[in-house]
């Protein structure tokens, strides 16, 4: 591993402290997250795994300031985003967080380039030429920039989404099953790009996935079960993950 990245990895970019998230009230209350504490180091690619309904998406949403938590604290760098108002949160999402959803990541009326630069446009900023070129080339989108989403393949669309997540050099990129809707080849491509974003561009990525193969690309995997962190694994291999998953679901 690149030594420069290793030193950076000591800094924490995103952190949850004792986070509980309860949906609904009374008899219908669902405890989606139960006193979760977890840290994500800068420059690291982390996978989040767990059975369906275990709270993966909820955790990601809470970390990204898309959802309010019931108790605990969420930090982005030094900023406690669980204490920010809606306006601050919007600005933090725009400038400091990148997000990649499973599908419908793009604004259909905008071209690929416009979609990529959307966070900057919202901030009223001009893209840095060099950085934008790097992202576009890394994602292999050079000849697709003037196309609308409807003219792009599913894999290309997700690449545009990743490029958009990268464009503002965010502190962290959250991805919720970014390859869930793709065939295995396109999925592998996307994973490769995210890996390069971490290795070559020094970005931080937190990704929810169901695919042990995808999780195998990460530096570290965190396992969720019933709203709790149940395990974690460093430098995982797909086989080791598969084993662990089997144990968890027993």
């Amino acid at each position: 591993m690149n030594p420069a990245v290793t030193t950076e990895a000591t800094a924490v970019s995103s952190r949850a402290v004792d986070v509980t998230k309860i949906f609904g009230e009374g008899d219908n209350a669902v405890r989606a997250l139960d006193r979760v504490s977890v840290e994500f180091a800068s420059g690291e690619f982390t996978g989040i795994m767990g059975p369906s309904g275990s709270g993966k998406s909820t955790l990601l949403h809470c970390l990204a300031g898309l959802d309010r938590i019931t108790s605990g604290q969420v930090f982005l760098g030094d900023v406690e985003i669980s204490a920010c108002n809606e306006k601050r949160l919007t600005l933090i999402r725009r400038d400091r967080i990148g997000f990649v959803f499973q599908a419908y990541n793009l604004v259909p009326t905008l071209t690929a380039l416009e979609n990529i630069t959307l966070p900057l446009a919202l901030a009223g900023r001009k893209p840095e030429k060099g950085w934008l070129d790097t992202i576009v080339d890394t994602m292999g989108l050079r000849d697709r920039l003037s196309h609308r989403p409807s003219e792009l393949s599913g894999g290309q669309q997700q690449r545009v989404a990743v490029a958009r997540a990268l464009v503002s050099r965010p502190a962290v990129i959250f991805a919720d099953e970014p390859t869930g809707n793709l065939d295995s080849r396109s999925g592998a491509e996307i994973l490769g790009f995210m890996r390069r974003a971490v290795d070559d561009l020094g970005q931080t990525v937190v990704m929810v996935t169901h695919d042990p193969g995808a999780a195998g690309q990460s530096d570290r995997v965190v396992f969720l079960g019933d709203g709790r962190i149940v395990d974690e694994m460093r430098s995982p291999t797909p086989d080791a993950i598969l084993d662990r998953m089997k144990q968890l679901s027993e």
């Binding site: 949403h61 898309l66 959802d67 809606e86 306006k87 919007t90 600005l91 999402r93 725009r94 400038d95 997000f99 959803f101 419908y104 990541n105 793009l106 604004v107 259909p108 009326t109 905008l110 416009e114 959307l118 966070p119 446009a121 919202l122 901030a123 009223g124 958009r164």
Partner: protein, 852 residues
């Protein structure tokens, strides 16, 4: 399927309610107009039934000039009264004299004159024939005494025993108020101002001398109206007299009012129709969007075996339900509107005694039928489109709009516009019957043509309109532009609704500006007078008002004044058609007007001569010396000679037929100057002249002195008043269109929920989101406005061209007003976006992102 229809309707209540508002407003306007006019009709029917309750027969002159501008009738000799009184079976016969009379209140201001007429009557002694009942004091016993109606007495703070001035065609004179009278149950008949004199004084004032306007007859008990009519008619000379029964007289008066009301009714219904037309576009659009959004549901129905027909019927059923509910609500709102307008009229002094309002079966049926039919017809296209949704559409994610068929649209749209323009031209420039119908259908075709072209024009228009937004508002502007472009048909249909209202507003604006310019030019060319005396009040105080010729006489006698002449206006039958006759002093006319006399000697115009404009002279082949058949109320039919031909006819904003004042006096019963034109003596300054003239005018509280500029402005003010009224009536159509914009935005936003969630997730602020939706709305509004102004300018030009012969010589597009229209439209767009934008901004980000 019916169950499904009802269920679907209930499931989308709110959405349908929004759509329904478009129908509700139009139907409310329509039924409100009908209820109000029925109520007014009933009121006046009762009024006349009351007035002529005791009248069994009425004697009057056969000589009547009946023109589209009104009726005027000659007088009968007073000697007939004795004859009528002598007829067996006549219990009472009362002479009738009617003329202009306006009392002056204790504040020195003339009472009334703001709509309802100011009339002088002779007091009728026979209680059967008199509808007035004295409530204080006594009837006029001497020529210096009067009775006035209680409504006017209250207005002017007049009590029995006061001495007040009364303005008539004689010099202003003071009278002792001997009594105050009520009219049946009302304080005054329909808000009119009535002053009653002794019969002798009435005869003197009106100049009737030994003539009467008519004789009211009451029969003895047991003698029928028909019988007394026959007996009276037999007793009178065969020629010149007409005797009708009281019932016929009542009916005649009722019909006259009904005619006036039906004009007013029709005018208002046109505006209601415009609002409903705009409503059609809104409904069409709402149903199209709803059908598109529900294409999955439709596909599912098809997939499980529903036929296309059943799907169509289910959508049409929904529209019928919406229409029925909306028109019922609209009807209720219309009745409330009529009640409100009625009290408004009462506040303006138009007393409507009948309690409540009249809601006829006709009103109820037409409101429900029109509202429902309009809704269903507007939903026909969307319903048919729904049937075309293939079952496989279920598997597809979102309904995509079919690409616009450019060729077909441009051919159909341009075709409709051409046909419409042709019909319009046909109606405006030829002499066919039913010109209004041609103009109306032509305008409609143009509207539909532009609406069909709309989707083609959306792209370039949004690019142009969106450019500054994208520039100054960044990504919000870009998104607004792209969203407006997203579904050209939707944007176009939404804009088309606004286009109609704006086109009419633009047309009226241009027409008014052209009229004003034409007046200014006409005045500049033809007017030499320094001052004009005009009646006070709205629209010159109404038709039956004016001044005693004494005023012009007194003004002319001032040393500061070189010349003053009054002008009088009457309607006469000229060569078989009803025309306005303008009368003035021919020897003085040259000083105050430049008539551009072409031939003959205008100054020598004799009482038996007539002067005509060059235009009508050319049309009829008249020259100086040509004989013309002229029928006037007092002189009947006779032949007059053309004695002069002048250049400035109606074409130049003036008039086509002129006679001398002396000729007018012999031809018409009442002698009121409508206006007085004054030229100052040489060397007299405007200020000095005004001071001197004001002294004379002071004695006439219903008169107002104006210099040339003020006179022009007062003419403009009259036009402005009319234009503002039309604006107010068109406002409804514009409001319906704005509701349409709000509706479209709300439905589109609903469709774009996930996208909005995404935008918010990647950092779009609420404010940016709101501004993006507002800009989208502004693009739609401005697009509609641009189309509307284009159509409005075309209409304006065509109508101004068509009215060239009527004195509209100038064509003017007032830039300031056009800018105002555009700015107001943009602001209205912002307003229409208010609620949709707020709702969009309030969306929960996560829910939106994960919504289906």
């Amino acid at each position: 399927m019916l169950r499904l229809t009802v269920k679907s309707f209930l499931a989308h209540k709110v959405r349908f309610l929004l759509t329904a508002v478009a129908v509700i407003l139009g139907v409310a306007f329509m039924s409100g107009t009908m209820v109000l006019s029925d109520t007014l009709k009933r009121t006046f029917d009762d009024l006349f039934a009351n007035v002529f309750e005791g009248t069994d027969a009425y004697v009057r002159s056969t000589n009547v000039i009946d023109t589209p501008f009104g009726e005027s009738r000659g007088r009968i000799p007073r000697s007939a009264l004795a004859t009528v009184e002598g007829v067996p079976g006549v219990e009472a016969a009362s002479p009738d004299i009617q003329f202009f009379a306006q009392p002056v209140g204790d504040d020195g201001k003339a009472i009334g004159g703001q709509g309802p007429p100011s009339l002088g009557f002779n007091w009728t002694d026979s209680p059967e024939l008199n509808t007035f009942r004295i409530v204080a004091g006594h009837p006029p016993r001497r020529d210096g005494e009067i009775v006035i109606d209680k409504g006017s007495a209250d207005d002017g703070h007049i009590e029995v025993g006061d001495r007040i001035t009364v303005l008539t065609q004689q010099a202003p004179k003071r009278y002792l108020v001997a009594g105050i009278a009520r009219f049946g149950d009302a304080d005054s008949p329909g808000g009119a101002t009535i002053t009653m004199f002794t019969t002798a004084e009435a005869a003197r004032i009106s100049g009737a001398g030994d003539e009467l306007d008519g004789i009211s007859v009451a029969a003895e008990p047991g003698v029928t109206q028909e019988e007394i009519r026959t007996r009276v008619a037999r007793a009178l000379p065969r020629h010149g007299f007409e005797v009708i029964t009281g019932r016929d007289l009542t009916e005649e008066n009722q019909n006259q009012v009904e005619e006036g009301l039906s004009f007013f009714n029709r005018a208002l219904l046109i505006f209601a129709g415009v609002a409903l037309l705009v409503g059609c576009f809104v409904i069409f659009n709402s149903f199209s969007i709803v059908v598109a959004q529900r294409s999955r549901e439709m596909a599912l129905l098809r997939a499980i075996g529903a036929t296309g027909r059943q799907v169509t019927r289910s959508v049409l059923g929904e529209s019928a339900l919406v229409g029925l509910v909306a028109s019922t609500i609209g009807l209720g709102a219309g009745v409330l509107l009529a009640l409100a307008l009625k009290s408004l009229l009462a506040a303006f002094g138009i007393d409507l005694p009948a309690a409540g309002v009249v809601v006829t079966t006709g009103t109820v049926v037409s409101a429900l039928v029109v509202g429902t039919v309009v809704t269903v017809v507007s939903a026909v296209f969307p319903a048919r489109r729904a049937a075309k949704v293939p079952p496989v559409a279920m598997m597809r994610a979102v309904a995509v709009e079919k690409p616009t068929r450019f060729r077909r649209r441009s051919v159909i749209g341009a075709g409709l516009i051409l046909v419409g323009a042709a019909l319009l031209a046909f109606g405006l420039f030829t002499d066919v019957d039913n010109r209004i119908a041609y103009v109306g259908v032509g305008a409609l075709a143009v509207f539909f043509g532009v609406a069909v072209l709309g989707p083609i024009l959306v792209r370039p228009a949004s690019r142009i309109l969106g450019a500054p937004m994208a520039r100054f508002s960044g990504i919000s502007g870009v998104l607004a532009r792209e969203n407006a472009l997203r579904s050209p048909r939707r944007t176009a249909a939404t804009s088309a609704a606004l286009m109609i209202g704006v086109a009419l507003v633009g047309f009226i604006t241009i027409f008014a500006a052209s009229t004003k310019d034409s007046i200014a030019v006409a005045l500049k060319e033809a007017m030499r007078a320094d001052f004009v005396i005009q009646p006070k009040g709205a629209f010159g105080g109404g038709p039956q008002t004016g001044f005693s010729p004494e005023l012009a006489h007194d003004v002319a006698a001032l040393p500061e004044v070189r010349t003053a002449t009054g002008i009088r206006i009457g309607v006469a039958d000229v060569d078989g058609s009803g025309q306005f006759l303008l009368a003035l002093d021919p020897r003085r006319s040259d000083a105050v007007f430049d008539l551009d006399v072409k031939s003959g000697d205008f100054a020598a115009l004799s009482p038996d001569g007539i002067a005509v404009s060059e235009k009508v002279a050319d049309d009829h082949g008249w020259r100086v010396g040509s004989p013309i058949r002229l029928r006037t109320p007092e002189r009947g039919t006779r032949t007059v000679r053309v004695e002069a031909v002048f250049g400035r006819g109606q074409q130049a904003g003036f008039t086509d037929y002129m006679i001398s004042l002396a000729g007018f006096e012999r031809s018409f019963a009442n002698q009121l100057d409508a206006q007085v034109y004054i030229l100052l003596a040489p060397g007299v300054s405007n200020e000095a002249g005004r001071r001197a003239i004001e002294k004379v005018v002071e004695a006439y509280p219903n008169a107002e002195l104006k210099n040339q500029a003020e006179f022009r402005r007062s003419q403009e003010a009259q036009i402005n008043q009319l234009v503002n009224l039309v604006y107010a009536l068109l406002a409804l159509a514009v409001i319906v269109a704005l509701i349409g914009i709000a509706n479209t935005l709300a439905l589109s936003i609903h469709e774009r929920t996930r996208e909005l969630g995404l935008l918010r997730a990647v950092g779009m602020s609420r404010r940016q989101l709101r501004s993006s939706i507002r800009w989208e709305s502004v693009i739609i509004a401005l697009f509609g406005t641009a189309l509307g102004l284009a159509v409005g300018i075309m209409f304006g030009w065509a109508v101004v061209r068509a009215l060239r012969d009527q004195g509209i010589t100038q064509f003017a597009i007032p830039p300031a007003q056009i800018v105002v229209i555009v700015v107001v439209a943009a602001l209205a767009g912002v307003a229409a976006a208010h609620f949709p934008a707020r709702r969009a901004a309030k969306l929960d980000v996560l829910q939106a992102v994960s919504s289906e």
